[in-house]
Symmetry: C2
Subunit: 199 residues, 2 copies
């Protein structure tokens, strides 16, 4: 069960959603998440529990819905003047945010929901950021990997580390970025008349 998308801004439905999301964030700040219940959220939001059940199905879906909103990027990737610099700055910030306590909790909430629509939304948010960096690179005339390659080579290893291993250090993140960027000249040799070294 997924919360309805494309709510009319300011409509009753949008106001209920905003109020319930705010109630969840307030409660998560004030108490342990295992103590947060739908009746508590309903009281805090000023709606009936059945409004919440009808709209989100269960607590886990609601928590996932709130988490994914918090994971939505609130800024464009920083423009450092070069594609590699942009990617590096973005990846370091991403690794830091995802490794933080709240970051891990949000990923866990998104993944705990049965419905994986929210997990796919997270993927789409991140991929968009990669595309934005790519558009800027193209405008500067820089060669840059595709968003899919960046998801595989930078994003996936960072998230894997956050979830299954150790928080990736900035040195580790820089290594991932350097590796994927180092392959750029080699990635298009057949389109060139001569190989870079023998030219």
């Amino acid at each position: 069960m997924t919360a309805k998308e494309n709510l009319r801004p300011g409509g009753r439905s949008a106001r209920v959603q905003a109020s319930v999301h705010k109630a969840v964030r307030t409660l998560l700040n004030a108490m342990d998440r295992s103590e947060v219940t739908i009746p508590l959220i309903a009281t805090e939001a000023g709606v009936t529990p059945s409004t919440i059940y009808r709209r989100w199905g269960d607590l886990q879906e609601l928590l996932a819905d709130v988490a994914v909103e918090r994971l939505r990027p609130d800024m464009q990737p920083v423009d450092t003047g070069s594609a590699k610099g942009d990617l590096q700055a973005w990846a370091e910030q991403y690794a830091e945010e995802m490794s933080s306590g709240p970051g891990r909790e949000m990923i866990r909430d998104v993944l705990a929901a049965q419905d994986n629509a929210n997990a796919c939304k997270c993927h789409a948010f991140t991929r968009e950021q990669m595309e934005l960096i790519g558009v800027r690179a193209a405008e500067r005339g820089e060669s840059f990997p595709s968003a899919d390659v960046l998801m595989d080579r930078v994003v996936a290893p960072i998230l894997y580390g956050v979830l299954f291993g150790e928080a990736p250090t900035s040195r580790r993140v820089d290594g991932l970025v350097a590796d994927v960027m180092a392959e750029r000249p080699a990635a298009i040799p057949r389109q060139r008349a001569s190989a870079p070294k023998s030219a």
Copy 2:
């Protein structure tokens, strides 16, 4: 809170663990996971609920503990005669198992626990499989990427896909394997007197 490791086989503690794990698996097969509770598990296992609370802390930790045991590989990677073949066969099976309903559920259980010791265990199981393929490759005199490179280039993208996107197809998995293996000659050029193509 993590269940004690290195139980004396056949000891009381090991018998309790085996019985509780079995009860969890039986109940998960018989009913929806949202209906499974510690009192039900205790009844099925023939122990008191407090035994379970004392040992595992809460339901989520117990489910994670059971899930990680099910994720423990029960066989060595298939020997296909070549390192690339071994890796490909292993990766296809891994992607298939992790994308399946029970596979996703197990990953979710492991990640839902507050304690990430179980998530790290999953990582260690997988890394061991990579090392086993590497040892075989070395015995055959084949060049093969390190286990860390394989975790980044094959395992992380597969799991990222399972969790955040679409189940990786076998074509996609083969692409990841082909990419990481294609770089092998280029990875050791300085140790050679002449480049492969100009020789």
